[in-house]
């Protein structure tokens, strides 16, 4: 066993890496990268729940790319290292533990696999390189006001007109689209087919005439998401990826690819570190929550849930590595992982009590200049708590995941 690994949060990765030296080397590489090259100012913003700007994200993405890690999950012929999902999982958990901001997945993890799997050579040439270099900021245009969980009912219409599609409609909940250069969308190209068969996968330039973006302020006071209005936007036909009418199957391919990585163990561990800090604070009267039996148990309960989630992730990833695709069983990771993140942030705000009520107003959408306006002692934990209420809603709500499991795994 690795002599320096004595933390509770290292046990599972230790056990995994002890049996797999290549994995251990990857973990060590990522750890030293985080120690040496992860910008302290970005880490501090993440750990204090401060607003992160577009530049912060791109700066960190490019450092990871220079180190060969940003798109390492792509196949070698497209500039990646052909990582397995287990390798990607180890990488993500290590950086999130270290305080990395969310690696914005829209370009590198959602769009790129669709392009290199279903796109033509010209599309691969045009989109993959700039995406890896973070020269293009992508948004995901899937949800609509009347197509949330029921995604197959998208109504945004794309009508062929010579060498263009003319696109009209509305997308919503579009994360970070206020910064986007491009948006990959599901659009309806055929009304007569079954709903799933009339959908196409189209790339839209956000700077085109007819595109307007309205940021939506969410309950945490931030602007992560937007409404996109598309008013007769002319999109060149070469921006259609794959076959017309194939969009639904590409979107499903993408979801299947990603579900195994859904459990945010690294983030959970970082949040636990934060909770430990809150519990160690000396309260008026001199007591500390970390000395209180019920608080120690409450915290240990969360710790046991993280270890269980981690072991479950390794099991399902291991099955995938061994060629036995766990299929819909992977929905479990989304359910359990999102509920755990919510439980940890709920525990954080309980630990802070009224100390935690102060929030930083004025972190307005896209306004990176707004700095730290929290009074001393304010942690922003309540902002994270509010934001994480979305974890059980986005990417297929918990109810949808349970429907999937009931049908596909239990056969009900």
């Amino acid at each position: 066993m690795n002599a320096e690994s004595t933390s509770l949060r290292d046990i599972m990765v230790d056990l995994k890496c002890a049996a797999d030296p290549a994995l251990a080397a990857l973990r060590d590489e990522v750890r030293s990268l985080c120690r040496e090259r992860f910008p302290a100012d970005i880490r501090s913003k993440v750990c204090l729940n401060r607003h992160l700007g577009k530049d912060d994200h791109i700066r960190w993405h490019r450092i990871l790319h220079e180190a060969g890690l940003f798109v390492a999950h792509w196949p070698r012929k497209y500039g990646g290292q052909g990582w397995t999902r287990l390798q990607r999982w180890i990488f993500e958990n290590e950086i999130y533990r270290a305080g990395s901001p969310w690696l914005v997945p829209f370009g590198i993890t959602y769009l790129a696999p669709v392009v290199y799997t279903f796109g033509n050579d010209e599309q691969k040439r045009r989109w993959l390189g700039p995406t890896a270099q973070s020269e293009i900021w992508w948004a995901q245009g899937y949800s609509e006001p009347n197509a949330g969980s029921d995604l197959a009912s998208v109504r945004t219409r794309a009508v062929r007109d010579g060498d263009h599609y003319v696109v009209s409609g509305q997308k919503t909940w579009t994360t970070m689209a206020q910064w986007a250069d491009m948006m990959f969308t599901l659009v309806r190209t055929d009304d007569s087919a079954r709903p799933q068969h009339g959908i196409s996968f189209l790339l839209i330039d956000m700077h085109s005439p007819g595109v307007s973006v309205r940021p939506i302020e969410t309950i945490d006071g931030e602007c992560h998401i937007n409404e996109i209005f598309l008013d007769e936007v002319r999109v060149p036909v070469e921006n259609l990826v794959g076959k017309e009418g194939g969009g639904w199957s590409y979107a499903k391919f993408l979801l299947g690819n990603e579900r195994l990585l859904a459990a945010e163990v690294g983030k959970a561990q970082r949040l636990m570190g934060q909770l430990d800090g809150f519990m160690a604070d000396v309260l008026p009267g001199g007591s500390r929550l970390s000395d209180d039996l019920s608080w120690r148990r409450r915290r240990a309960e969360l710790e046991s849930r993280i270890i269980a989630l981690e072991s479950l992730s390794y099991d399902l990833l291991g099955q995938a590595e061994a060629g036995r695709d766990p299929g819909a069983l992977a929905s479990i990771l989304k359910i359990v992982g999102s509920e755990l993140i919510q439980a940890i942030t709920a525990t954080q705000i309980d630990a802070l009590g009224k100390r935690g009520l102060t929030v930083s107003h004025g972190m307005l959408c896209g306004d990176d200049a707004v700095g730290d306006r929290l009074p001393a002692g304010g942690s922003g934990a309540i902002t994270e708590y509010l934001y994480d209420r979305a974890a059980t809603i986005y990417g297929g709500s918990s109810e949808i995941q349970r429907n999937i499991l009931a049908k596909a795994v239990l056969g009900l």
Binding site: M1, T6, L8, I11, M12, D14, L15, A18, D276, L293, R296, R297, R299, A300, E301, E303, S304, R305, I307, A308, L309, E310, S311, L312, Y314, D315, L329, I332, I335, V336, E399, R402, N403, L405, A406, V409, L410, G411, L412
Partner: protein, 362 residues
């Protein structure tokens, strides 16, 4: 115990199939009820079968008639025990007593005792929980005598031999006692799941010390292995209980449709499957951590036992609820699985004990 996993993937699969076959063919619910009602509360013929199948030898050291298997292998047996609600004293004899003897005994006695266990010829129990009078040991000439009471001794009512933990005035020692000796007074009780436990009084009973020095470490280690074994047992029980609840939901008709077509029930059934799946993963992780000798393996054991205790309670209660009225009857297996899960939840560390241990590591 040697403590490393010994099976290849193929051997693991074939051993699992053999355990499954035994449970399926020799231990259906009617037979289980019959054995539960028998005088000893376990099946002697079944016990011999288990020995023939290598279950007893599996975790015992190779130099004493065993196969030297790890916790990961014992877990296969224990999952079968949970799936069929087996009643034989495997945990008490092989994992607890066998584990303590392997860790503490020396000389020819060690291999004699363990060989007898491996052959299925000995019944042991581990008397660890003090009753009203804590058990004290005092040396007398070349030997020892112990006095005091132990309680909740799993299978202690019909074991032939006991290992008793006792205070020596210089720490905790382990002592072997003839359970049938006149100065050993046993009262049988039944746990909620029907398994027998004993309250045992020792009236200056002659005892043979097992090893020397403080036995605290050996006891803690065997408790960890028993906790993980119980986790595997619970996972087996949850799997069986979930399968029967799912089958019931698929077939039970109300309002002209199967009740499993209702979303409220579907989501409950999914949550039960999620609990079982997560429990299986974390139980396996705990077994791997122990077998790998990780310095913090005990913490994974605690994490596993907390999750399994919670999952067992949730799956058990939900299964009764989804079965409705029929779930309340002792005629149906569901309630018996629930009661085994309840018992496991309090044995080898309940949630609070393991939460406190996990909290101490942070």
């Amino acid at each position: 115990m040697t403590g490393a996993a010994i099976f290849s993937a193929d051997e693991r699969d074939s051993f699992t199939r053999s355990v499954d076959r035994f449970v399926e063919e020799r231990y259906d619910f009617d037979r289980q009820r019959e054995i539960a009602a028998s005088a000893d509360g376990f099946g002697h013929a079944e016990w011999r079968n288990m020995a023939d199948l290598g279950w007893m030898a599996l975790p015992l050291p190779e130099n004493a008639g065993g196969l030297g298997g790890g916790v990961q292998e014992t877990a296969i047996v224990m999952a079968g025990i949970g799936r069929g609600l087996l009643l034989e004293p495997y945990l008490a004899t092989v994992i607890l007593a066998g584990g303590l003897i392997a860790a503490c005994a020396t000389g020819p006695a060690r291999s004699d005792l363990l060989s007898a266990i491996a052959a299925g010829e000995a019944f042991w129990a581990f008397a660890d929980t003090d009753g009203e009078d804590p058990v004290l040991a005092s040396s007398e000439g070349d030997g020892w005598r112990i006095g005091g009471t132990k309680t909740l001794v799993l299978h202690g009512h019909n074991a032939d031999h006991l290992i008793v933990s006792a205070s020596t005035g210089d720490g905790t020692g382990l002592f072997m006692v003839d359970a049938t000796a006149p100065r050993v007074i046993r009262r049988r009780f039944e746990m909620v799941d029907g398994r027998g436990v004993a309250e045992i009084g020792f009236d200056a009973a002659p005892a043979i010390r097992l090893g020397d020095g403080d036995a605290g470490t050996a006891i803690a280690a065997v408790h960890d292995r028993a906790a993980v074994a119980s986790c595997a047992e619970a996972v087996g029980a949850m799997a069986a209980l979930n399968a029967m609840t799912l089958e019931y939901a698929r077939t039970r008709q109300q309002f002209g449709v199967a009740i499993g077509s209702f979303q409220a029930l579907q989501h409950k059934l999914v949550d039960m499957a999620v609990a079982e799946t997560e429990a299986r993963s974390v139980a396996t992780a705990a077994a791997e951590a122990l077998d790998a000798g990780h310095p913090l393996a005990s913490m994974v054991v605690s994490a596993a036992k907390i999750r399994i205790n919670r999952a067992g309670r949730f799956v058990g209660e939900s299964a009764i609820q989804l079965h409705g009225g029929i779930g309340m009857t002792n005629e149906l297996p569901a309630g018996h699985y629930f009661k085994r899960l309840l018992a496991i939840g309090s044995l080898f560390g309940d949630c609070d004990m393991h939460l406190d241990r996990l909290a101490s590591a942070a």
